[in-house]
């Protein structure tokens, strides 16, 4: 507050000084720039200017050296179309208009910075900023919503800081170039994002303004990572039912009110102290975290995207920072001021004061007092927005963007930028080289493109204990396309507890597996997708001495089984869990209520004390009772003192029944129950043993999977799926062959002759005969020609050989051995050629008559001629 007051005072002072000058521009004077800026400007004299310069030069912009630069000379402009290199007359006109506008503006508001209207593009041609926006609807459904769109832009491009953090850039490249090189500054980011958002129907604008240092440098180290923030649990407020007419009164409270109050007071005091302590600690922490103040606060130029409410069911105006893809409310304190904003149709200058950041701005672009528009005649979004009109707009805008542009008489010219294209590969790879690292406060997030890592890792979040990021607290790794359906691996470094999360589809129906070591019979919890399991197991917990299983939806209503083990008896043989199971001390089983049985016969819990040979049963509680029946069987001895076999003695069963019945007292009933239980005990022990085996198997399987970590490839992924690729290629080959064959068969030997005849008419007999003759004679001619051709070649070859021979005989004496060799090889080759030609000629002579006859035959059989010819012959 104090700072603010100070500022206000200074402001007033400044006003007094320059009252005369400023009287004229009373309206526009309280403009745009945040207070700090104005403060410097208003007292601008020669000395201060120099001082400022010095200050500025002293400021070290914390740009790390490795940050990439996007120099102009690296851009290959040769492939760019002509619209990038020249301006159309309309664009020229627009530029003139913009210049005029700019002149007027600087005349009217001399204290404001020049407008960012027509920076140069990559071909050094000035282009109006609005025409640089190229609304495009991307073919990827993932990019239809603003959040995913912004996320894509922030992932896809690498951030390059502005060459001068205090000025808008001199160049604004087209999205084509930006996408090609995958880097850009905030203006490039915003232009691309805005183009995509307008294309998918949002009412989006590029904003040129001032942002905080963190924002301009994409510095998230003071922000909490969104992934670590736990979603706030919505506290369900239980609707307290109104007390009904006959609700019983609570029993009278006999406690002393005074004592209660005293107690309350005491507790409150303790709590207050605690709170105070906590608060202090928090404050201390906050202080430590707080950034050192930025000397250029309020001067740093930034560009971001504004989305206005209305279209695409956006309920509220909001900002998107293109670097981080985060949305901010328009009141956010990261955004310190707005100079101007533009979309693909118009350009507006902010005429409102930004002394309080952007908090007081009203985004009613139709209001010419607040927003000075550049082009008249284009629709003013807010004022003209009536209900029916907006409805039409909503529908038309996406499809008819281009058309609309043409319709209006003096509109923004059509964008000079080519349609934005992102190849599927690039879209999938997302980040440049498929990898990106973001540093948050006490956290680091790494992202990879799918299939880039051999083990399917796509992102990793490392959380640290301290701000310097040295002590790792926990690591979360997300995986994709893994054959074992592993989705998330969570490692807690402090407790050393690892937790694996699986998607549905694991061969053992695993859902969650948390463990400290992969050794069997250690502490671990495994959760299952119970619907994928036949036995309805939900969860199995293991400690060195116990195993607990939870079930759901079984036909025998079992819900819980707990087994206690004794340490394994040492055997001389090599002992493993499989061959030597641990002895079971106790098995506890619990059951859900079976509605088909009466409660006093439905067992709720049974405990097999294996070592003591005791069985305890506890039944379900009847609805109108508070105490459940129970029964305990003891097996004292098999043989009584006289050596007779004991079947059942009354003291072998201790029973408590809530409502004693006759038949349960009978020894026969008890005996039968006992026999049944003995059988069940055996089964349960077997079950426990099987569960142990299964655990071993799961662990083995997990280890194997971890080692192999094969990735699945969708059958629709034609690039990666080798099998489908082969198949497709084979199919293509087959197709091509078939096509060739078809072409061959379709070659019509009559076509050249039929063409001479009037088309569409039926052939007369005479015509048919003539056709046939012509065809045959033509063929004969061809055969003769061919024969002649071969003959001619043969003769030519022979002559040449003779010539050579002659030459050889003449010069035989003078020839070098090399020449001789040359001659000899030539001779042998020529002889070979001559022989082949001779053979071909002979063969042709043999085959020609046959071919001729075959053609005649074929012509006879030809459906077009056959009948006529038959009649003729």
């Amino acid at each position: 507050m104090e700072v603010l007051r100070e500022k206000v005072e200074e402001e007033e002072e400044a006003e007094r000084e320059e009252a005369a000058e400023r009287a004229e521009w009373a309206r526009t004077e309280k403009m745009m720039r945040p207070v700090e800026v104005r403060k410097q400007e208003t007292t601008l004299t020669q000395e201060t200017l120099g001082e400022l310069e010095k200050q500025l030069s002293e400021i070290q912009i914390p740009v790390s050296a490795e940050l990439p630069t996007f120099a102009k000379d690296t851009i290959d402009i040769s492939a760019l179309p002509v619209s990038y290199k020249t301006n159309t007359p309309k664009e020229e006109q627009l530029l003139q208009l913009a210049d005029n506008f700019s002149r007027q503006y600087s005349h009217l508001c001399p204290d404001r910075v020049p407008l960012f209207l027509h920076p140069l593009n990559e071909c050094e041609v000035p282009k109006f900023v609005s025409t640089t926006l190229r609304p495009t609807l991307m073919p990827y459904p993932e990019l239809y919503n603003w959040d995913s769109c912004a996320q894509f832009v922030s992932d896809f491009l690498t951030m390059v800081p502005l060459p001068d953090p205090l000025k808008p850039p001199s160049h604004l490249y087209s999205s084509t170039t930006v996408l090609k090189y995958q880097k850009g500054n905030c203006f490039d980011f915003s232009t691309l994002l805005c183009s995509m958002l307008i294309g998918s129907g949002y009412d989006a604008y590029c904003v040129n303004g001032y942002g905080s240092q963190d924002l301009c440098h994409m510095d998230l180290t003071r922000d909490v990572c969104p992934l670590t923030v736990k979603p706030k649990e919505t506290i369900k407020r239980e609707e307290k039912a109104l007390p009904k007419k006959y609700t019983i009164r609570p029993p009278r409270d006999l406690c002393s009110r005074f004592e209660q109050e005293q107690e309350m007071k005491r507790q409150q005091e303790i709590r207050a102290q605690e709170e105070k302590r906590l608060k202090e600690e928090e404050e201390r922490l906050m202080e430590a975290e707080k950034a050192n103040p930025d000397a250029l606060h309020g001067l740093r130029v930034h560009c971001w995207v504004l989305v206005l409410s209305g279209k695409r069911e956006v309920p509220e105006n909001f900002f998107i920072d293109p670097f981080t893809a985060r949305s901010y409310s328009t009141q956010d304190e990261h955004f310190l001021g707005i100079e101007s904003l533009w979309n693909h149709k118009n350009y507006w200058i902010n005429m409102q004061d930004c002394w309080n950041c952007c908090k007081d701005l009203i985004f009613d672009l139709g209001d010419p007092v607040r927003w000075e528009y550049m082009l008249l005649g284009t629709d003013k979004p807010e004022l003209s927005l009536t209900e029916d009109d907006s409805g039409i707009n909503d529908e038309d805008d996406v499809e008819n963007l281009d058309k609309e542009d043409e319709d209006k008489s003096f509109d923004m010219p059509h964008s000079w930028v080519e349609q934005i294209e992102i190849s599927p590969e690039a879209f999938e790879t997302r980040c440049p080289n498929g990898k990106k690292v973001i540093q948050y406060k006490r956290a680091k997030l790494e992202k990879w493109a799918p299939y880039l890592n051999r083990n399917g890792l796509v992102s990793r979040l490392t959380t640290y204990e301290d701000l310097e990021c040295t002590n790792i607290l926990e690591i979360k790794e997300w995986y994709q396309n893994r054959e074992d359906m592993l989705e998330l691996k969570h490692i807690n470094k402090t407790t050393d507890l690892k937790t694996d999360y699986f998607r549905p589809g694991h061969s053992q129906a695993l859902r969650v597996h948390s463990y400290k070591s992969m050794q069997p019979e250690m502490d671990r919890v495994i959760e299952f997708y119970e619907t994928a399991r036949v036995d309805g197991l939900i969860k199995r917990e293991e400690t060195p001495r116990t195993m607990t299983e939870y079930y759901q939806g079984r036909s025998d209503f079992l819900s819980y089984r707990h087994a206690d083990f004794r340490p394994r008896v040492k055997k001389l043989t090599l002992s493993s869990a499989e061959s030597n199971p641990r002895p079971i001390v106790k098995i506890t089983e619990r059951f859900f209520r079976n509605p088909a049985k009466p409660a006093e016969e439905d067992v709720a819990e049974r405990v097999f004390l294996v070592a003591e040979e005791r069985i305890q049963l506890c039944y379900h509680c009847r609805e109108d009772h508070i105490i459940a029946s129970k029964r305990e069987f003891l097996r004292l001895s098999e043989v009584d003192s006289k050596g007779n076999k004991i079947i059942m003695m009354p003291d072998m069963c201790i029973t408590f029944e809530v409502e004693p019945t006759e038949h349960t007292k009978k020894l026969l009933y008890q005996y039968e129950t006992l026999m049944h239980l003995k059988k069940e005990e055996k089964l349960s022990r077997h079950q426990v043993w099987e569960s142990e085996l299964e655990m071993l198997e799961i662990l083995k399987l997990r280890e194997e999977e971890e080692e192999v970590h094969t990735l699945t490839i969708s059958i629709y992924d034609t690039k990666r799926n080798e099998k489908s690729k082969e198949y497709r290629e084979a199919m293509e080959r087959v197709m091509q062959e078939e096509h060739l064959q078809q072409v061959e068969t379709q070659l019509d030997y009559l076509a050249p002759f039929l063409v001479q005849l009037p088309p569409g008419e039926k052939l007369t007999r005479w015509q048919a005969a003539r056709l046939k003759d012509e065809c045959l004679s033509d063929f004969k001619q061809r055969l003769i020609n061919k024969a002649n051709l071969i003959q001619a070649r043969f003769e030519k070859e022979t002559q040449e050989l003779q010539k050579k021979q002659q030459w050889y005989q003449e010069n035989q004496v003078t020839l070098t051995p090399e020449d001789e060799d040359l001659y000899l090889s030539y001779c042998s080759q020529a002889m070979f050629r001559i022989r082949i030609l001779e053979q071909r000629l002979n063969r042709h002579k043999e085959l020609a008559p046959l071919k001729y006859l075959a053609l005649e035959e074929k012509l006879h059989k030809d459906p077009r001629l056959g009948e006529l010819l038959k009649m003729f012959t």
Partner: protein, 523 residues
């Protein structure tokens, strides 16, 4: 029936025979021994076999309450009797007996399988109660009328029927007829009916079956209508205003009133009567509607009350359960501690602790229960007050409406008297209408007669109205008292049960502790 046992003396089922039969059935190794040691209660027996025993008379079976399967085949039984108590019976075999009529099966609603093979039955009936019947064996009997088949149509679950060896099975159309009229049947005479036969049979008897179906549907519709009407009336009865939604009361007033009827033929009386009737009916309908509305009120009142009481009891039970669970945990711990403890004085101390724990639990549970009793008592008395008030209000209103009825009647009476007297005057003058009947003329002899006649009619009417009113008031009052009584009784029952439950548990815990003590001392 010429059988081997004919020479033997016919017998009656008696206790000895039953014991023997039961004993024979359950002789299997260890369980048998145990059973012998203890003896078997007849009501635990699920199946009983009494074949080839020359039984003539069924008796002494009433103890077998839970019997599921009873075999009485190959005896000389002539009459089905003594099976009334065996309501759980599923399987009954009476084949190879001398039964002539089917009877005494009306209580066996769970019966699924009934065999009456080889008897002397000539007519299928008295099976209406056996709605679950699936298998019916009636072979080798003397059934000779095809209409018996139609009787079997009412058994929706019937899947197997055997009728071979009856006179009707000789009929040429026998199989087709049965297949057509019993389409759900799967087996006939131990053979599966194939689909083809079914189709043919249906085609053959199509028309007659359609007709039958139509008749059955009509009957069904009538029954349903009747049911609806009865339910409606029942509803009105619970509101105590039955028959008040029309002229029923008015008509009943004139039903026994001969004088009134006679007088209605006087000139001018019929119009009067018409107007009177209209007004009367309107008041009746008012009472009726008011009654229904009030009934709704009572019902919601009762429902909220029940709900609240239920909630309170549930809550209390939950508290009790929690207490017990907590106690159990602690108790188990201390018991095992006692078992492991070696020093005698320590054991004694711990046992003492345990018993104090038990008594504490007892106190706590009883306290909870007493608290609930108090709370419920309060609520119940509140409900009682409210319901009595409501009923009182209802009675008051009805009475005032009834008074209106009486006023109407009085008014009507006066008018009638006027007309009568004027008619009498005419009669005295001698210019009475000609078309009056002799009976009516007889009334106009002198003034006393006519006044008496009109008075008698009036008295009858008033009496009727009074009666209706009294009936209504007494019935609603008795309903009210019964309701309140029931609520009190239920509450007392609940309380007794809970107290019993608690004390039983406490006793059990104590005895367990005592046993422990005892065994420790022994050790």
């Amino acid at each position: 029936m010429n059988r081997l046992y004919d020479s033997m003396e016919p017998r009656v089922i008696d206790d000895d025979m039953l014991k023997l039969a039961v004993g024979e059935q359950s002789s299997q190794e260890e369980t048998g021994e145990l059973a012998k040691q203890e003896g078997i209660l007849f009501k635990d027996v699920l199946s009983l076999q009494l074949d080839f025993r020359n039984i003539l008379h069924i008796d002494n079976l009433w103890q077998f309450e839970n019997l599921r399967k009873l075999q009485l085949d190959n005896n000389v039984i002539e009459k089905i009797e003594g099976l009334e108590n065996l309501t759980h019976l599923v399987w009954l075999d009476l084949s190879f007996n001398n039964i002539e009529t089917i009877e005494g099966l009306d209580t066996l609603v769970n019966l699924e399988d009934l065999s009456l093979f080889n008897n002397r039955i000539s007519n299928i009936d008295s099976l209406d109660a056996l709605v679950k019947l699936q298998v019916l064996s009636l072979g080798n009997n003397q059934i000779d009328n095809m209409m018996n088949i139609i009787y079997l149509r009412q058994f929706r679950c019937l899947r197997m029927l055997s009728l071979s060896g009856n006179p009707i099975s000789e009929v040429e159309d026998y199989k087709m007829f049965i297949c057509a009229y019993l389409p759900d049947l799967v087996y006939l005479d131990f053979r599966r009916i194939d689909d083809h036969t079914k189709e043919v049979a249906e085609a053959k008897h199509h028309y007659s079956i359609e007709e039958l179906k139509h008749r059955e549907n009509l009957m069904q519709a009538r029954l349903e209508e009747e049911q609806v009407r009865r339910e409606e009336l029942e509803r009105h009865k619970t509101a105590f205003v039955e028959h008040l939604n029309g002229s029923f009361l008015f008509d009943s007033m004139y039903a026994e009133d001969s004088e009134g009827n006679k007088l209605s033929s006087l000139p001018g009386v019929s119009e009067l009567l018409e107007a009177y009737r209209d007004k009367f009916v309107i008041i009746c309908v008012n009472i009726f509607e008011y009654g229904l509305k009030q009934q709704e009120k009572w019902k919601t009142e009762l429902d909220t009350f029940n709900e609240c009481v239920h909630e309170a009891i549930q809550e209390n039970q939950e508290q009790g359960k929690r207490k017990i669970a907590k106690f159990k945990e602690k108790h188990l711990m201390s018991l095992s501690a006692i078992r492991e403890e070696l020093e005698m004085p320590n054991i004694e101390k711990m046992i003492l602790e345990c018993s104090t724990d038990i008594s504490e639990l007892f106190d706590a549970l009883m306290m909870l229960e007493m608290q609930l009793v108090e709370q419920l008592e309060e609520t119940i008395s509140m409900f009682e007050r409210n319901i009595v008030n409501l009923v009182g209000l209802f009675i008051e209103n009805v009475q005032s409406l009834m008074a209106q009825c009486r006023d109407l009647e009085n008014h009507h009476h006066e008018k009638l008297l006027e007309i009568s007297i004027s008619t009498l005057e005419k009669a005295v003058k001698g210019d009475l209408d000609e078309d009056l009947s002799e009976d009516v003329r007889a009334l106009f002899v002198d003034k006393d007669t006519i006044v008496n006649a009109v008075g008698a009619s009036h008295d009858i009417h008033l009496l009727k109205i009074d009666n209706r009113e009294d009936e209504l008031v007494t019935r609603i009052n008795s309903w009210c008292t019964r309701l309140v009584d029931k609520i009190h009784r239920d509450e007392i029952m609940r309380n007794r049960k809970r107290v019993k439950e608690i004390s039983l548990y406490i006793d059990h815990m104590k005895s367990e502790l005592d046993n422990l003590e005892y065994s420790d001392i022994l050790d």
